[in-house]
Symmetry: C2
């Protein structure tokens, strides 16, 4: 019996969400009563590493509850690769050459890595980054006199690396907007998580081995991430009246952090998002929708998808018959996947805004669009309406967070199958 | 010397816009003083058949001024095909086979039609439709006691068929929201213009000749236009509180007319757009962005582009290796053009909203997004901010109206060149 791995992946994610809901519903998981819809919302937000919250996690959940949230984040973030691999492996006792090829394509593994070994390496890389980050955060939090500095350091380090953006502080890191140390540590963790092990691995080998050169995908990811950070910081520094009113250092930090938080889809914030100007909101919309890189823990359409879309536009404008990017032709299947992801994103965005207009008509258009893009991109930033949504509104956001995490990956797996023969492909169609 | 036809087309359009500006600047063109930027805005809005206005045309321009506007609309609407053909012809004394092939591809001409003959046919078709429409409108306006019923009937008939949406009434057709005759005549003219001669020609032959079957493109256009009108009317009928408060007949007319005005990109309205609910605005955003059909006078990304985008998404989701629509494979160049147009549309939308956030920060996000999509799709509906924009804001809208009309067509021409040989293509690249 062969089953579609994309379906198994979705089932796997939903399973973790339901298990998380169950655990968060246990009486000793909260400090006071939390509604069932809010526990479900928190579980989905954690597994999808979105970070949107309808109730403040720090004051509403017990240590046990916060531990569950942390584990869900860790499973969701790292599992973004591993659960998928398990789902593929579940269809066969051992990986057949075809299945292995699919797994490689779907999770962008380099040819010299075995999936099992790869998962272990990712887990070790994750734990090392998080441990170093937690240590650094401990000194910052202890120095600032934050209570439970140890737990807070661990929680926020994991939340940052997994680009979840869950915070135990009611206002995220708004109290640390001028703290250089916190800005650096959280940004470093988020960027490492968002770019992912493969990119870091590639960069590391580039520095240590004279014979090794950066792969094409790594180059694209590094250049686009760099360009986004630079342009975003510049625009937010100049164009937002609220940020411009800060002291020079804090202003630069705030401009960089809010850009970083959108492009890595981590979703922490150091200034109130609801007070940003329309121009800056538009920049954040674009950054959040494009999101992070395919080999990391972040969400969104992915920088590589953006590269493909940009290549389609530029090559068409320049009247080239072949779509190229950095002088390299891009495969038709890749272009199709990029186009499909973007269309799917816009379709979900439009339907969600339409439905939220019916369920929660009191909110302004920009706040609703922000919430929807934030959920679809698994970012977790909000202009402040999440907790005030109706139950139906919360359910819509729950669906978006799930689709945002699972949907785009599903596209990736689907397109990986396109390398199969015609007979294989028709076989797969019948199995749907 | 060979010149790029896309560039010539843009130059041609901008030439008409500047000529229109000059004529509208003549002292006897207005009733009172009109600022230079507003005359320019009106000229660009007319040539691009958008219909956005910063000053009310009926009270600010003299009969001469209104006549100029009408001629600009006529040139812009019908010229959407013909100016392009002239631009292509200008590069060669006679149409070479290659150029003729390009013109056919760019303007979707069937193989048995000669361009010269085609233009003449389109002009006759246009004038006949407009004359019948004007006659019908005359009886409606005269019956309603509208002053200058003859001129008003001619003006609105041309404005409807060319999907320009310019009105001599300050509130468009809000006074006629319950008038069945006006709703039918304006809708018929707009739909004829928006679908275009080729579709009508195809449908006509399908009815008159037993041997003739509808072409694939015609089928796609008819089905999508029909589906949009049905779904849009249903949604607006049910989901908008303002429309729901009307009497049953007027409610149905209003739901249909506002759907029709968005999907044909004509831009007349019978209810105030600024009072519509967020859900309905979202529907209008989608309809306006997709817009009309490629062989008509309307704007937007086009229904055929929408079909291609939908096909990319569905085929990818269904894991087909070939993108199909209605069981027909779609050419890669067509898919590329559709993707490029959509990306280009979104890039322009994001940049425009960003800039308008800087030039006109006092307006709410939904009103600005509405204005931008309306301009890019050459629709002309507005939530009421057009006249209150700053001069820089007006200039941004002017650029959008020009890009909306010229840009997407430029993509079409660009993609038509992809059928050329590699040597031809490189030749073209050098000429850029
Ligand atoms: K997040
Ligand atoms: K229009």
């Amino acid at each position: 019996l062969r089953t579609n791995p994309a379906k198994l992946l979705v089932v796997g994610y939903v399973g973790y969400m339901l298990a998380g809901w169950l655990l968060l519903s246990l009486p000793f998981a909260h400090e006071g009563p939390v509604a069932a819809i809010d526990n479900f919302f928190t579980a989905v937000s954690a597994v999808s590493t979105t970070g949107l919250v309808t109730v403040d996690p720090g004051s509403n959940y017990s240590f046990f509850g916060e531990l569950i949230i942390l584990l869900l984040i860790q499973v969701g973030g790292v599992g973004y690769m591993t659960i998928g691999s398990f789902a593929v492996m579940a269809t066969a006792h051992k990986l057949s050459p075809l299945r292995e090829k699919m797994a490689r394509a779907a999770f962008a593994l380099p040819k010299d890595l075995k999936p099992g070994h790869f998962i272990l390496t990712v887990v070790i890389f994750t734990l090392v980054c998080e441990a170093i980050g937690a240590l650094a955060l401990y000194f910052i939090f202890a120095g600032a006199g934050q209570e439970d500095a140890v737990w807070s350091a661990i929680f926020h380090a994991v939340s940052a690396f997994c680009t979840a953006g869950f915070s135990l502080n009611p206002n995220s890191f708004e109290a640390y907007s001028g703290d250089v140390g916190l800005n650096v540590v959280i940004s470093a963790l988020s960027l490492l998580g968002a770019m992912g092990f493969l990119v870091i691995h590639d960069v590391w080998r580039n520095f240590t081995s004279a014979a090794f050169h950066l792969g094409f995908t790594t180059k694209v990811i590094l250049r686009i991430t760099g360009a986004f950070l630079f342009i975003g910081t510049l625009v937010l520094f100049v164009a937002d009246p609220g940020i411009a009113a800060l002291q020079p250092t804090e202003r630069l930090l705030a401009a960089f952090f809010q850009t970083m938080t959108a492009t890595t889809t981590v979703g922490f914030n150091t200034v109130p998002i609801g007070a940003l100007s329309m121009s800056v909101l538009m920049v954040l919309f674009v950054l959040m929708a494009i999101g992070a890189s395919p080999s990391g823990t972040g969400g969104g359409l992915k920088t590589t998808t953006f590269a493909a879309l940009l290549a389609i536009m530029r090559s068409t404008l320049k009247q080239r018959s072949r779509v190229r990017f950095f002088k390299r032709p891009i495969a038709a299947s890749r272009l199709q996947a990029a186009g499909a992801s973007a269309v799917y994103f816009i379709v979900l965005l439009a339907i969600a805004v339409f439905l939220l207009g019916l369920t929660d008509p009191q909110f302004a258009f920009d706040r609703v669009v922000f919430e929807v893009i934030s959920a679809l991109g698994t970012v977790g930033l909000s202009m402040g309406i999440t907790g005030d949504l109706s139950s139906l509104g919360k359910l819509i956001i729950i669906v978006l967070m799930t689709a945002g995490r699972v949907g785009i990956l599903t596209f990736g797996i689907a397109i990986a199958m396109h390398d199969e023969t015609r007979a294989e492909e028709e076989d797969n169609e019948l199995l749907f």
